[in-house]
């Protein structure tokens, strides 16, 4: 039986992360699995989801046939707006990111280091890369939540160079030198969810006491 079969589904990974969000938080969701967090039922909690393309206050994915072609999240998926939503342009969207207005950001990663750096934008041997907003987000959110999907990434298309040399290690890896496709979070990674059970970072002291 494959390890993936025993692990969490994509939505389950996001549900686990979403449980950490506090009432009133402004949370950025990155492209890929993280965008599924906005589908979680938060009950009485009010979460303001931010997307890098300038959408503040979006909700679940739009139902099939009800998509607004002018409205997408970071992954290009058609989403719905929540009451009180607002739209800004890209420079203002990243202004609020860099100014530390986000309470948390959820990003996909191939691999996460113990110190909070993570490999997320380039695979070994690849030309170019896909940084998107990750470097701005990693450097500036108060709290960074990651999903760890190296197993899925390796199965589908090889691995990042860092991952390849450390693929046998457990979820928390330690290295101090720059790796290929690295984004520096400067110790902001606080919680890492992979398709197997949740691990907390050594930086979990950054989590608010309520969690």
């Amino acid at each position: 039986m494959s390890e993936r079969a025993k692990g969490l589904s994509r939505q389950q990974m996001c549900n686990r992360l979403a449980m950490e969000f506090g009432d009133g938080w402004i949370v950025n969701l990155g492209i890929g699995i993280p965008t599924l967090c906005s589908n979680f039922d938060f009950g009485d909690k009010e979460i303001i989801f931010h997307s890098e393309n300038g959408v503040i206050g979006y909700g679940p994915l739009a139902a099939t046939g009800k998509e607004d072609l002018h409205l997408v999240n970071a992954g290009g998926q058609h989403v719905t707006l929540r009451p009180g939503a607002a739209i800004v342009h890209h420079a203002d969207s990243f202004a609020l990111i860099r100014a530390g207005r986000l309470d948390a950001t959820v990003l996909g990663a191939y691999e996460v280091a113990e110190n909070g750096d993570f490999a997320n934008w380039k695979l070994a041997g690849q030309q170019g890369g896909g940084i998107g907003g990750a470097m701005d987000l990693a450097a500036c959110a108060k709290l960074y939540l990651s999903r760890w999907s190296i197993r899925r990434a390796m199965a589908s298309r090889g691995s990042s160079s860092a991952a390849r040399s450390r693929r046998r290690h457990a979820v928390w890896l330690t290295w101090s030198s720059p790796i290929s496709g690295c984004s520096r979070s400067q110790g902001r990674v606080s919680l890492c969810v992979r398709s197997l059970p949740v691990s907390r970072s050594t930086k979990s002291r950054r989590l608010p006491a309520a969690i």
Binding site: V88, A91, G128
Partner: protein
């Protein structure tokens, strides 16, 4: 209006004077606000040695399968350099035209964090030559580049990115060039308009008489806009397609 009309009869007219070697910004994020018709017009026009700035070089799931994107201009041999936040596919199943041309050494690709890309153009439009940002500090993107500490934190120097032309898409325009965008269509479009010497806009709704947009509701003032073209209905004009009606 007294001034020369900004309304152009065709997309081809609107981009006719783009010279070889120009720097052009193409707005849009995941097809929303993407100037599909102006990509087509620039491809038709044929200017070469272009530097093209965009979030990425491909459209997305709602772009009609045969619609133009930056990949067309690359395949056409018109581009010498791209400046993007994505220069590689975001999925293993995707292939970028760019990858092949970069591998052959035909195109230079500058990879930039998305917020830095936006701010470089914002700075250009705001008369600011350079700025410091925390994004990319400590990564390979910052190697051999100037950094500086402020209040104990390290920041990377980034330079403004002025554009010769901005090709953007808006929801509404009046004949004086005042623009409104709808939902996440805004993205890079207003910033590129301010960063550019000449801004060309493809407009989704009929172009309104001057004054029809309340001044308080204008997203991009007409002083930043030079040419407007109304997008004709499909199939003459390019429009995003509903998800499910096209392959991703």
């Amino acid at each position: 209006m007294g001034a020369k009309s900004k309304v152009c009869a065709s997309f081809d007219d609107a981009v006719r004077d783009i010279p070889d070697g120009a720097t052009i910004g193409f707005g849009g994020f995941a097809v929303v606000g993407m100037p599909i018709n102006l990509y087509q017009a620039v491809a038709n026009q044929g200017a070469k040695n272009l530097t093209c700035v965009s979030n990425s070089t491909r459209g997305g799931a709602t772009l009609p399968a045969d619609a133009p994107d930056m990949g067309w201009l690359i395949r056409n041999g018109q581009i010498k350099k791209v400046i993007c936040a994505f220069t590689a596919p975001t999925r293993a199943s995707q292939r970028l035209v760019l990858t092949e041309y970069v591998a052959k050494g035909l195109i230079e690709a500058e990879l930039t964090p998305q917020g830095t890309l936006a701010e470089r153009m914002r700075a250009a439009g705001a008369g600011i030559p350079a700025f410091y940002t925390p994004a990319a500090v400590g990564t390979e993107l910052a190697e051999r580049r100037e950094t500086r500490f402020f209040n104990g934190r390290e920041y990377l120097l980034e330079h403004a990115l002025p554009l010769d032309y901005a090709c953007i898409r808006a929801y509404q325009a009046d004949a004086s060039g005042n623009l409104r965008f709808r939902r996440s269509q805004r993205n890079f479009n207003p910033i590129m308009a301010m960063a550019a010497r000449v801004t060309v806009v493809e407009v989704e709704e009929d172009i309104l008489p001057v004054g029809a947009i309340d001044p308080d509701d204008v997203h991009t003032p007409g002083i930043f806009v030079h040419r407007l073209v109304k997008i004709p209905p499909a199939p003459e004009g390019w429009w995003p397609q509903r998800p499910g009606s096209v392959g991703s």
